[in-house]
Structure formats: C-alpha cells, structure tokens
C-alpha cells in the first residue's frame, strides 16, 4: 500500500476520524466544506498533528502516535498544493522552482532537475516573471513544477481547480491528469466537485462530519454511495426519507409515494434516485405526476414532477435530453422508478 491513513483528531466542536488506504493511484476525498478533508491533508503533510493514529506513505511511517513517530513537514516529502498555489510572491518563477529544488544537495543534479521541469512545464519563457504577472493556469503550472522538482513521495492536491474560471478548468484538469500519470505514485485529491472527482480519480472516499462514509473504486461509490450525504455529494438530487411498510415496501415521506423495493434492510432510512435514472412508464413503481416546473439547460430539460395525490413535499426532478422531453411534453406524465436504480441509503 502506498498510502495508509488512520487518524483521529479532536477539535472540541469537531471530531476527525479518517481511515483509508490506496495504492499508486489517485484517491479523491469528496466532501462538503468543513467535512475535514483539508484537515486530513494537513495531517498527512505534518502541518496539523493528529491526536492518535498512523500515517504511512510508500512504506515510510510519517506519523505513529504509539511509536511516538512524528516527522517534520520537511522530512515527510509530501507535495502539498493549496488552491491558491502558495507561490512565493517575492520570487520569480525560476527562483520559486529553485527554492523547491533545495532538498537536492548535489549541485549538478539540482541544476539538471530545475532545467528539466522548467522545460517540461514550458516555464522557460516566464522564468523572470513574478507570480502576480501570471495567469491562474500559469501559476498552477509553476506550483506543480515546484512540487515535482522537490521529489515528493506523494501528491496532495487541495481543491486544485477551484480558483480557476470554468473554461480554464477543463483544460488544466487534463494537464494535471498527465502530470499525475507521469508521477506514477499515490495522489490525494481533495474536492467538492463530483464531476471533477469522477474524471480525475481511481478511488473515492466520501467524507462527512470528519468521517469516511464510503470508500471504494469510483464506479462502485457512485453506484452505491451508501449514505444520504454520500448520495448528495455524488450528485443525486432526488432523496427522500422512508418509512418501512412491509418486507419489500417503503413509504417515501418527502415525495408522498410508496415503492416496492427488493433487498431492503432495516438500516435503510432514505432512498434516492438520480435525475437521469427515472424512466417513462410502463415499469415497476409507476406514478402519475403533475409537471410543476420545467427547467431548460443548454442540452437537456429537467421536469419537476409531483406525484398525483401527494400535495405536499418535494417534487422529483427528471432529467433527459431535449428532444426526448419535447416528444412527451404535457401537463401530466407517467413515470416509473426502477428498483435497480434506487439507491438504498442510511444516515
């Protein structure tokens, strides 16, 4: 295992208790702000000290409360990148890179490493500029180059794209993906953006309230996010609390409808269905609904539907391609919620 983390930290009003591991791959910590994902990164980098636990990277123990091991941030060699990139404002691009290379004591090797990243990140033409003279994308490139020249064991990326305009994001994401592929070791990506996480990572840990609520390959986590918070974070918009009626029936209290679902367990307290997974009737769990609103996106429509007979409560969103909605558009539609698409969730 290339990264193993099992730590606890009590901050009074907030308790962090994270545990996850990953190989030479990208693991994303997906969570809302304040869930402890950035704090976890800081603990790995040695900026914050956990109360208890263990952090092992590439076979090197960075922190172990039982064995009283607590390496300094300098000894840990974790390549930590903040969302503001933290370039030294008083140094030029070249000086920033040189500062990153200081760990290498051999002068010739150091110069080679500097030349190599300056070249591969295309920084030579900006070498003499100061960070504030660069665009956001260029700053990110310098930050990545500075980290890689420091020869880290692991990359820790804290919301790497959130400071960028959306049109730049897509392009830079691809650049960062290439950097990650070349790096070839563990990468931890912290983000609250499920699309970004899905595109960038191999593995996902969903975090809420300082805990890892779901951990697994990204496809598995999206298919079964397990908790209500997990469903929300992976982008499921239709979620309702449920009351059990019998062995295979629940009443969705927020939608005002009953559904027949196999595989129910006592743990299930909520269910969810992604907006694209709703199907037109016929099928199982069929409901006639009133269209209460229609939301137009560039390439799709979302119909907001309220089951007939359920006057109160939240409407269900049904997302589909434009032409499809235009074919069936009316004031009332009949839909089905296929049991295999319903997410079974607990709190």
């Amino acid at each position: 295992m290339s990264i193993y983390v099992d730590i606890e930290k009590d901050l009074g009003s907030f308790r962090l208790k994270t545990k996850f591991e990953a190989g030479d791959e990208t693991i994303a910590l997906l969570g809302a702000s304040g869930c402890g994902k950035s704090l976890t990164l800081k603990c790995i980098a040695g900026i914050e000290k956990p109360d208890r636990g263990k952090i092992i990277v590439d076979g090197v123990t960075l922190f172990d409360s039982e064995k009283k091991i607590n390496l300094t941030p300098q000894q840990r060699r974790t390549g930590l990148m903040f969302q503001n990139y933290a370039l030294f404002p008083n140094m030029t691009v070249l000086q920033n890179i040189q500062a990153g290379a200081k760990r290498e004591k051999d002068k010739r090797k150091r110069q080679e490493a500097i030349d190599s990243v300056m070249d591969s990140f295309g920084l030579t033409e900006y070498a003499g500029r100061y960070p504030h003279q660069l665009s956001g994308g260029q700053q990110q490139r310098v930050a990545l180059a500075r980290i890689l020249v420091s020869n880290p064991r692991i990359l820790l990326l804290d919301e790497p794209f959130s400071a960028l305009d959306s049109h730049l994001r897509f392009k830079l994401e691809q650049e960062v993906r290439q950097v990650i592929r070349k790096f070839g070791r563990s990468v931890i990506l912290v983000s609250h953006d499920r699309d970004e996480v899905f595109r960038m990572s191999d593995k996902i840990a969903i975090m809420a309230n300082g805990r890892v609520e779901a951990l697994g390959a990204k496809a598995d986590v999206f298919a079964d996010p397990k908790t209500r918070a997990g469903a929300t974070l992976t982008g499921c918009k239709n979620i309702s609390a449920v009351r059990r009626i019998d062995a295979d029936t629940v009443y969705a209290t927020e939608w005002g409808i009953s559904l027949k679902l196999p595989n129910l367990t006592d743990q299930v307290t909520s269910i969810g269905i992604r907006m694209r997974r709703i199907r037109p009737a016929p099928g199982e769990n069929t409901f006639r609904c009133k269209v209460v609103a229609e939301i137009e996106d560039p390439f799709s429509y979302t119909a907001m539907l309220r089951p007939i007979g359920a006057d109160e409560g939240a409407p269900l969103g049904w997302l589909m391609d434009k032409d499809k909605w235009l074919q069936i558009r009316s004031d009332e539609v009949e839909i089905c919620l296929p049991p295999e698409s319903v997410l079974l969730l607990h709190d």
């Binding site: 980098a45 900026i47 300094t72 300098q74 404002p89 500062a99 760990r103």
Partner: protein, 225 residues
C-alpha cells in the same frame, strides 16, 4: 554651532533601532504562536511603555540600573561600569520606549501573512530559518520597514526617559531634544530655533521615506494572490 547633539541623537537612535529590529520581530513572531491567554498578558506587558509617560519609564529604569540598584550595582562592582550618565545609557531608555512600536507593527504584519506559504515551503523541504528570512520577512516587509522607521523617528525624539537616565552634559550626553530644552531654559531662543529646524527636517525626511516605501510596495504586490 556644535553638532554633537545631532551626532549623539543619531547614534543612539540607530543603535537602539537595530536592537529593537531584532527584539521586536522575534517577540512578535514567537508571541503570535503562544496560547491566547499568555498572548494577552504578554501583549499588555510589552505594549505598556507605549502608553506610560516617559518619565515613569525613566524612573523605573533608574530603579534597576542606578548605581545602588540591583543591576546597576552589580555592573559597578564587577565590571567597574556605571550604567547611567553615559551617552549610551540613553539606549536603555530609547529601546524600552520604542520596543512597542516595533513589536506591534511587526505583529500586525505577521498576522496578515498567508500561512499557506509557510506550509508549502515546509513541504518543499525548506528550513524554518530559510522560510522566516526568505519568505515571511519579504512578505511582511512593508509593515516591518514602516515599524522600523517609526521606531527610529521616535528614538530620535525621545526626551523624558533619556534626560532622566543620562542627564544633560554638553558634548557628552546631550541629544537634540535635551539640547532644545536646555536652550529654552537658558533663554537662548535663537539656538533653540536652529535645533528645532534640524529636528523638523529629520522628521520630514523620515515620514517621506515611510510614504515612499508604502507606495513602492503597494504597486508591487498589486494583482498578486
């Protein structure tokens, strides 16, 4: 005109500013890291000389540095050194009086520092000493320079504590401010006026320097993150 008071004032101010530059910065840096309660107490204690009348500072200094007091008598006995009534005795007075100016401006500057810069630097393997001098200090340069210049100006004008601890001996301990007082007392208005003009000129240059420093730094940081 005897220029000794100008020379004496400037050397006292320069030496005490150099001392306070380091003392103030290190106090600000380390106190910022202490728990809140200790920070509060130390803060009050260290800022006290700013609000105390200089005569009170002078009196307190004489209580410990005077020839018959704890520290003063020790130096006199073991090193045959009298700590008061020398030109350099004024440095004790000026350092105490200007310390809070440097300490508070440096602390304000450090508090505005973006800690992610330090965290990133540590992760890159840079030593804490390097980070302090090459990242933190340049980032906070504006505030620290302003504090240094203000402290220097204040040291140059110190009167109360200085006159108590080193008196007024022409050609030996006279500073600009004690000279002006002495000339006024002896009704030599013409000479007093000359020193007042010298003092005004110095203050003007110092304040101009502060303003120019701020402008220069302001334009450089603009647009940065």
């Amino acid at each position: 005109m005897d220029w000794f008071p100008l020379y004496n004032s400037i050397r006292i101010a320069l030496i005490s500013t150099v001392i306070i530059f380091f003392l103030g910065i290190f106090a600000a840096y380390y106190i910022a890291k202490t728990p809140r309660l200790i920070k509060g107490v130390l803060d009050v204690f260290l800022t006290l000389p700013l609000v105390l009348p200089p005569t009170v500072v002078g009196w307190l200094l004489l209580r410990i540095l005077g020839p018959k007091r704890i520290i003063g008598s020790w130096f006199l006995e073991h090193l045959d050194l009298k700590l008061t009534m020398n030109w350099w005795s004024a440095i004790f007075a000026t350092t105490v009086v200007i310390f809070p100016l440097m300490y508070r401006t440096a602390r304000g500057a450090f508090e505005s520092f973006d800690e992610t810069l330090a965290y990133s630097a540590q992760s890159l393997g840079l030593s804490n000493t390097y980070i302090f001098w090459r990242v933190r200090m340049p980032y906070c340069r504006q505030g620290i320079l302003a504090g240094t210049v203000l402290a220097f100006a204040r040291a140059l004008g110190e009167y109360g504590a200085t006159s108590m601890i080193c008196g007024y001996t022409p050609g030996r301990t006279a500073t600009i401010s004690t000279t002006v007082y002495q000339l006024w007392r002896t009704n030599e208005d013409g000479s007093a006026m000359k020193w007042v003009l010298v003092n005004l000129a110095i203050s003007f240059v110092v304040l101009l320097a502060v303003n120019m420093l701020e402008k220069k730094n302001g334009s450089r940081r603009k647009g940065g993150i």
